[in-house]
Symmetry: C2
């Protein structure tokens, strides 16, 4: 079977509106608990499909038509947004990592696991509002309809695409769902469709092919700021980063294809976002271009190279850390998207090429394709084919380093890095000098420092380059301020300590936001650093445990077992400043370390899309 025969035309959605598809026989389901509209009205819609496939009951508690129009309008506006701002368009991160916990909430025992998953899944905040839905038809029934009865074994070695440093990656998982379902009923558009009694194709014999991956975020120690090509995202200088441990900061993405999918769709942290932006389209186009033949004889799925173009994808992505908080969420996100799509579409395992594709999603994403220390070579070619990332050393090369991130509370609305660096290129006289004269020698020195575990040089270069990047931001018209008074205070603390010790203990670096990323040269230093930080930035409430996330064991190393221990901390002797404390100026801390590159996730229970429906787990049909 080739998908070309069964894949719905790309105009499927329009067609659906003209000629509503019949509702499935005998399906009774309800949609409730939807988020309120801006005027504060909730819907309760009950729809029953019958043999004659007409809607028999539709009982809006309010003016449903008007509400649908509102939802459609909202949807339209969201589509019109430039997609390069996908991260920025999301809700602000919470001041504490409650919503964006480092594990999916249900794994923390804070929410019930979503009902559709075979095991656990990773619902976004929105999903959690849904009440337990009606059960869909059982998986066994669904499976028996047209596909192999059992789910594919995890870790099946079909794919040729697996990370170097990771365990052998599992093949994409394929199922034959009983019937292809329409789009998730959670969106306003679907609600409208329901209102019209519309359903998606019912064609028998369809399947969902799926892959899941996890990619780390990275923090540049020699900064990338400024593009020489906006469309291809080609930088004006090389940059070097450290990859953070994905256990603490990473994106998990599940991608799926199915002939039943009527459009490319994406959900980020449980919320559907538009995929129409140039950056997503670039990544999808480039991966599809490199897709290769795929066959799973056992499951009777065969996709030819040229057919990938015709299959729509569903993408679900989830960050285990705050999105758009200046922690390179888009780097992890795009790296994961490209890595996982590559795996799904059986793309040749060429990390350089993958990094080049990820670069077109978000420049710094190319560096998240590897673990450890990574260099993004700016390249010289006009087509950007030589603008790729390479690994300088893996995460085992310099194991001592400990990373503490201070997530700083910010009242200011920040300039997106995309528009910020465009403005810098256009208006900062210092940027070109930095890119052409300062950075090249710094990159060489940094490579040497990393190679030789020379922390003094590493720290000096890291701090100087962070400061110079922010200097260029300030030299932009209008000037860009990413750091605030709290950032300055943290720098002051580190500089004074380093100065008093005679050699650097800690390096600091700040991306396009006020958060401080502090790299301590060993665990003991990190524990001392934490003491100093908590002295000036104590938690607002008594809950020390939620004030430091990630590797919490650093608290014990610092002798901080309770809030009383924090209160008893002595003032750092090297700080001659008045004894002022700044409670509330830091939202929380993350303790992390260097980490590995992207990995395929074999455990199907970790997939974010339902293997039967191809929509995010926990979203009811």
């Amino acid at each position: 079977m080739t998908p070309s025969a069964t894949a719905p035309a790309r105009t499927g959605r329009a067609r659906r509106r003209r000629a509503p598809a019949p509702a499935p026989v005998g399906v009774g389901w309800s949609v409730s608990g939807l988020p309120s509209t801006p005027d504060g009205i909730s819907f309760t819609v009950r729809v029953r499909g019958h043999l004659d496939r007409r809607i028999r009951t539709l009982r809006p508690r309010c003016d449903l038509a008007a509400s649908c129009r509102h939802q459609q309008e909202k949807k339209r506006k969201e589509k019109d947004k430039p997609l390069t701002k996908w991260a920025a368009s999301l809700p602000s991160p919470p001041s504490r990592p409650t919503l964006y916990s480092l594990k999916p909430l249900h794994q923390q025992g804070k929410a019930a696991p979503p009902p559709f998953s075979a095991g656990s899944s990773v619902p976004g905040p929105l999903l959690r509002r849904l009440p337990p839905p009606c059960r869909p038809r059982s998986r066994s029934a669904a499976s028996s309809a047209a596909a192999p009865a059992s789910a594919p074994p995890a870790g099946c070695p079909v794919s040729s695409f697996a990370p170097r440093c990771a365990a052998r990656a599992p093949a994409p998982a394929a199922f034959r769902p009983p019937r292809a379902k329409g789009p998730s009923p959670i969106s306003g558009e679907t609600l409208a469709a329901v209102g019209e009694g519309t359903m998606a194709s019912e064609a028998e014999g369809q399947w969902v092919l799926m892959a899941t991956g996890r990619s780390p975020t990275n923090i540049a120690v020699i900064k990338y700021w400024g593009k020489r090509d906006e469309a291809l995202i080609l930088p004006v200088n090389d940059s070097i980063s450290v990859t953070l441990d994905p256990d603490h900061l990473s994106a998990t993405t599940t991608v799926a294809v199915s002939p039943s999918f009527s459009a490319d769709r994406m959900w980020l942290n449980g919320k559907e976002i538009s995929l129409s932006g140039g950056r997503f389209q670039s990544c999808l186009r480039e991966i599809r271009k490199r897709a290769r033949d795929f066959e799973d004889e056992k499951k009777g799925i065969k996709i030819k190279k040229e057919d990938w173009e015709k299959l729509h994808v569903h993408i679900a992505s989830y960050n285990n850390f705050p999105t758009a908080a200046g922690l390179a969420s888009s780097a992890a996100g795009f790296a994961c998207l490209v890595f996982t799509l590559g795996k799904l579409m059986n793309v040749k395992e060429d990390y350089g090429e993958l990094s080049s594709i990820a670069r077109q999603g978000s420049g710094s994403a190319c560096r998240s394709i590897y673990g450890g220390f990574v260099k993004w070579c700016m390249g010289k070619k006009d087509d950007g084919s030589d603008s790729i990332a390479v690994q300088l050393a893996d995460e085992a090369h310099w194991k001592d380093l400990v990373i503490i991130i201070a997530v700083v509370s910010s009242k200011q609305k920040e300039t997106s890095s995309t528009s910020g660096m465009r403005d810098s290129v256009e208006t900062s006289p210092l940027l070109q000098y930095r890119a052409q004269t300062v950075v090249p020698s710094r990159v060489l020195k940094m490579e040497e420092a990393i190679k030789n575990h020379d922390f003094e040089s590493f720290a000096k270069l890291t701090c100087a380059d962070s400061n110079q990047f922010h200097a260029v931001c300030l030299d932009t018209s209008p000037p860009i301020f990413y750091m605030n008074d709290t950032s300055h205070r943290i720098i002051g603390l580190v500089e004074k300590w380093n100065h008093s010790e005679g050699c650097p203990q800690v390096a600091y670096t700040f991306d396009a936001g006020p958060n401080a990323v502090l790299i301590a040269w060993d665990r003991k230093t990190a524990a001392l650093l934490l003491q100093k930080l908590l002295y000036y930035f104590p938690p607002q409430d008594k809950d020390l445990s939620s004030y430091l996330v990630g590797d919490k064991s650093i608290l014990s190393d610092a002798g901080l077992h309770s809030i009383e221990d924090v209160e008893a901390l002595p003032a750092p002797p090297e700080m001659k400043m008045h004894d002022q404390k700044f409670k509330g100026d830091v939202s929380y801390f993350i303790c992390s370390r260097l980490g590995a590159g992207p990995k395929a996730v074999a455990d199907e229970s970790q997939a974010l899309l339902d293997s039967v429906t191809g929509i995010p787990k926990g979203v009811r049909l």
Copy 2:
């Protein structure tokens, strides 16, 4: 009479300690109300001199010896301080301009005029704490002793040194005091001396020759940051400034010489400071080198060129605005010192040369030698003789400009500009590029903009150069942060307004501190700017009048007659930020305009030194 015969040796102070001079016959005086020592103890010392010139009554209310030791220790520490930091060593400015009012307090009716002045004088805050002192011997008696009976007429055209734009300067005033007095009893050292019964020389036939001047401060619109010669203060690039109206921001300085002075001494804002620093010594040396013969036949004073070297000077200086608050107080101070010394010592009226001397006190001081728009040409010679200031246009050239200064509250201790720029030169890779490549073209463009009243170019260059200066500070290791979140907010406000109008309405510039200097292109714009500023930064209390000082009439122009008017201000429509206000983040505003250069002060009542004793008015003998 030549002073060489009567001037005390420079080791006079040391000699005084070894052999206490007798107290004057019949003088009964008390010292009280001195500032408390750190341990909270006040002194009341009563000393009576008798015919036998021994102390008869000394009744300390506490351990006077210990207190004296404390005072001596304090004094010693102050001496050890490098004098280049003279401004920084002063007490922090108040959050409101109560102490440092724009007029001497007694002229505002807030304090009684100091007792020693013939008319009014300009006491520092410390002086006001003193109770009315005992009267010295009457002036008529003093005058009759050895000098002409009457004070010299104000405006006497003896001096060849007068400002170009100013009224013809008065000659130095000369008197023959009855007896030369010892140092001011207000200092701890004097207290110690009193304890030992020490007094200064009593030689008859001495006189005090005096001159007073007033110099404006200036704000650079193309910034000076970085020296190519630390000792001569030679800059790495040209700079351009605007001179502010001395009615609002200026230094007033009185300098005096007398054969009775035993050492060079200086009082800043009423507090004695050391003159031993290299910068003061450079200015004194260079002015003395250029001193010329002086003769006042009427008063019988004749000073030969070579004799100026042998005469000690007393200097009293007073700023009518906060010292060390990032408002270029040292620029006004050194310009005034050099200008007034030049006047006193009959130095040839060569403004370029004077600016070159003032430069050696504080780089930017050279620009305060002129009014209006001033350029400091960096020069090329190693001896710095061509590193002088020139006037581009006087203050009448562009009268429309209105200057509003936001004095921003700062919790941070700031880096002095001297050490800051040294660090920048040593560590910032961007500084040399700025100095050699960016600034030269900006200077040319700025000169054109000023010449053509081209506000758009003027504003864009001013803002860009301020930001670039701060960018270089940030590029320094360790980084220097002069601006804080409030500074950033003010920039955001101006940038958004300028953007919404399509062309600049206001230029902003920040010196080595968080205070914003805002230049509006006319009075109407300034009134609108004030409305926007007061919307976001309302006064903390109900007193609007003390929240805006300088040219208060701008309040009426902005329709702000009371605090209720401020509270009723609408949010600036161009600001899409949330409606947050920042009460308390600005200490107060100053409204000013462009102003003239230094002027000699003819009115002897404005002199800061007593014409009889040569010590600050209001300080008792």
